[in-house]
């Protein structure tokens, strides 16, 4: 009897310990994942901030007016402190990473000093511009190195927790790619540390304005279905399903989806007026048969067929075998940046795979654009003389305050980079400077 009781107690004890142990293990794992996520976040943030830093330094070089320069320098200062913060969050305590931090604080010091100075009275000296140039180049190198490490981390699913363990145990055999990568970054910076130092499409609308160009009568579901079939170019009723949007939507839409052997499609049309707002077709894309240029012609034709007049090609890019085209509304030779439409074309047979006119319907309106007070020549003088101007046009853009302004846009080259410089056509203020993206090298099993 006593023996059985003892056995029962022991069994319960063992089972209890097991359960407790399992719970502990679960908790430990949850905490590990959380810690890992924090590290990952700091790391990806760091590389993003370095990207941004590099771009901002570049735009600073292309700027001319002091009014823009001070906030820009302050912004760089802020970014360096963010990046420094990111670095300090990484589990690199056991690794010498101080040169990179030093480099960042060098940039920070330099930009702070120049940002708080009255640049109107005391502009940047030749030497300071040179220094800025230097910092720009160096940040570019660091950016590339960091991106390489980042690519490896993503490609091979590397864990920062492992890095920490590897560093702590000094285990040479473990996969130390991250450590190696960071050592390269560190080495890159070392050479410079002494004596030297934005994303998105500029001018387009950042804010989600209410849709102002949606007009017409409300259409019912049957009409929506008919329109959807037309846009999808399918005849079969059964293949298309229609749903209505809920109350939270900014604009009431019918969403239609279809599924057939050829692929899958989805679109939104506004309930009022039945305007197509977006269309997506997802299917396998075969080998490229038509050129980007022919793809653009297809996109132009599509716009014409759907009643969008005066749209003009603004940007085109090829991603593998699809072409993505950005069109802008053109009003008497003035490009209206906020009124944009994007179209995606398959480069195997020229089918329209994507279409979005949300920006267009949000921002398009009848505009009265008075003649600018400044002439092109006047505006040109406001551009940094180091920038070699290659092309120019007039445009309506949205400034930092979200107001539409008329601007002269100059495309110019400084060093190896192309910049877009926006000069307000009435006030002559340098409204914006944007560095245009270059192609990015492929990273394939580098390092």
């Amino acid at each position: 009897m006593v023996r059985w009781i003892v056995i029962a107690v022991l069994v319960i004890g063992v089972a209890g310990t097991g359960i407790w142990g399992y719970q502990e293990h679960q908790e430990k794992n949850a905490i590990l994942v959380q810690a890992e996520n924090t590290y990952q976040r700091s790391f990806h943030d760091l590389s993003y901030h370095m990207d941004l830093l590099h771009d901002k330094l570049g735009t600073t070089l292309a700027m001319n007016t002091r009014k823009q320069l001070s906030p820009q320098l302050a912004e760089i200062w802020r970014l360096t402190s963010e990046a420094q913060n990111d670095v300090s969050q990484l589990p690199l305590a056991l690794m010498p990473f101080n040169k990179t931090e030093e480099f960042l604080s060098n940039i920070g010091d330099f930009t702070y000093r120049t940002a708080v100075r009255d640049l109107e009275k005391d502009p940047l000296s030749e030497k300071e511009v040179e220094r800025l140039n230097d910092l720009y180049e160096k940040s570019g190198t660091i950016e590339t190195e960091l991106r390489k490490v980042q690519n490896l981390v993503l490609e091979n699913n590397l864990r920062w927790m492992d890095v920490q363990t590897a560093l702590a145990t000094n285990d040479e055999k473990a996969d130390n790619t991250i450590v190696d990568g960071f050592e390269t970054v560190e080495k890159t910076v070392k050479g410079y540390s002494e004596g030297s130092f934005g994303p998105s499409q500029t001018g387009t609308s950042k804010e989600n304005h209410p849709y102002q160009f949606i007009n017409g009568e409300k259409i019912d579901e049957d009409e929506a279905l008919k329109k959807a079939k037309e846009l999808f170019q399918v005849d079969n009723d059964k293949e298309v399903t229609i749903t209505e949007s809920g109350e939270g939507a900014n604009i009431a839409v019918y969403s239609a989806a279809y599924n057939n052997d050829n692929g899958h499609g989805y679109l939104d049309i506004s309930q009022k007026g039945g305007h197509p707002l977006s269309l997506m077709v997802n299917r396998e894309i075969k080998e490229q048969k038509i050129s980007l240029n022919e793809g653009m012609e297809k996109a132009k034709q599509y716009l014409k067929d759907h009643g969008f007049e005066n749209m003009e090609i603004f940007q085109s890019s090829q991603y593998e075998n699809v072409g993505v085209f950005n069109f802008l509304y053109n009003l008497n030779n003035i490009k209206i940046y906020p009124d944009s439409i994007q179209i995606k074309v398959a480069l195997d047979d020229g089918e329209i795979l994507g279409f979005t006119s949300k920006d267009f319907f949000r921002n398009h309106q009848e505009r009265q654009i008075p003649d600018p007070e400044l002439s092109v020549e006047d505006a040109k003088e406001k551009v940094n003389p180091n920038v070699e101007i290659q092309d120019q046009h007039k445009a309506v853009i949205e400034n930092d305050l979200g107001e539409e302004v008329l601007a002269y846009v100059f495309l110019g080259v400084l060093g190896d980079d192309t910049y877009k410089i926006f000069i307000d056509a009435n006030t002559g203020v340098e409204a914006k400077v944007e560095k245009l993206k270059n192609a990015e090298s492929k990273f394939e099993d580098s390092i």
């Binding site: 976040r41 499409q201 950042k206 989600n208 989806a257 997506m280 085109s316 092309d391 990015e440």
Partner: protein, 297 residues
């Protein structure tokens, strides 16, 4: 007799005319493929275009097969110098002029690209002096030779007969949307795959769009990684599913979202009504349902 003579003459004349045109157009057609090359294009024609422009000293950038701004200005300057219409498009006449004025050593370029060497291709300088070898594997251009696994590369035009003599030159760079790096796209693809695999395409694009809407929103972090790794924001991040290897469809969805697609209707939240327990999330104004997710403001 007279008619016979005229006929013979005619035949002769036609013969010479076609002969002449054949020799005139023959070479340039061989040089490029038929397409009009425009900004943003990727592929072998672009490599040739860049090489030829560099040969003439107009292009100083890297020969990488992506028609970017550098190539665009180089082409325009070429058109200007040669008295042509300046449109930045490499059409038939531009290509002919280019082919006439420059030389293109296809094999040399391909070798350099394959080996990942840093090189230039200026005319008048011995080619051998323009290659910087000894690029260890730390250098930017990865080994293009062993590419092919996973990384789909844009297939350049191969309609010509050129492809017979072996592999064609592959671009060493890719277009990236303004403001995003390849790594940003990869990270987003990870998140989208972890959150929305098994959803229809629009469901994936919508999740990617929500991430981007959050980056824009003042109440959320301002970076893609900040949004994704924000504590308690995405379940796939909290339970580690984000580290599953994403498939291509996730990447396509991310690119669609970056290029402006937003089937979610400007949503900044979404939830799965079958599993969501928080009453707060149910109280958000709902926009629409896609697949198993409800998107809301």
């Amino acid at each position: 007799m007279n008619t016979k003579k005229t006929i013979i003459l005619l035949i002769l004349a036609i013969g010479t005319i076609t002969g002449v045109t054949a020799t005139q157009t023959g070479k340039p057609v061989e040089a490029f493929s038929q397409q009009i090359i425009q900004q943003g294009a990727v592929g072998e024609d672009v490599i040739e275009l860049q090489a030829r422009l560099q040969y003439l000293g107009f292009y100083n950038g890297k020969i990488d097969g992506v028609f970017g701004w550098g190539t665009y200005w180089a082409l325009r300057n070429f058109q200007y110098e040669f008295g042509m219409e300046i449109d930045g498009l490499a059409g038939t006449s531009t290509k002919q002029k280019l082919a006439k004025a420059s030389q293109y050593d296809k094999n040399f370029i391909r070798q350099q690209l394959d080996a990942g060497n840093k090189f230039t291709y200026y005319g008048g300088t011995p080619k051998e002096n323009q290659v910087k070898k000894g690029q260890n594997k730390n250098q930017q251009k990865g080994n293009q030779g062993q590419a092919g696994q996973g990384q789909e590369q844009p297939q350049p035009e191969q309609q010509g007969q050129e492809s017979e003599e072996g592999a064609s030159a592959q671009p060493t760079a890719v277009n990236v949307p303004n403001g995003y790096s390849q790594n940003d796209i990869q990270l987003m693809a990870n998140a989208v795959y972890g959150e929305a695999r098994g959803e229809p395409h629009e469901g994936k694009v919508a999740v990617a769009a929500v991430i981007l809407n959050r980056v824009e929103s003042p109440t959320f972090p301002n970076t893609v990684s900040g949004v994704i790794f924000e504590p308690r924001a995405f379940t796939a991040v909290a339970d580690g599913q984000i580290w599953l290897t994403p498939d291509d469809s996730a990447k396509v969805a991310v690119l669609d979202a970056i290029n402006g697609m937003d089937p979610s209707g400007d949503a900044i939240y979404y939830f799965n009504p079958d599993t969501a327990t928080s009453s707060w999330i149910w109280g958000r104004p709902q926009i629409k349902r896609i697949g198993k997710h409800v998107f809301c403001m």
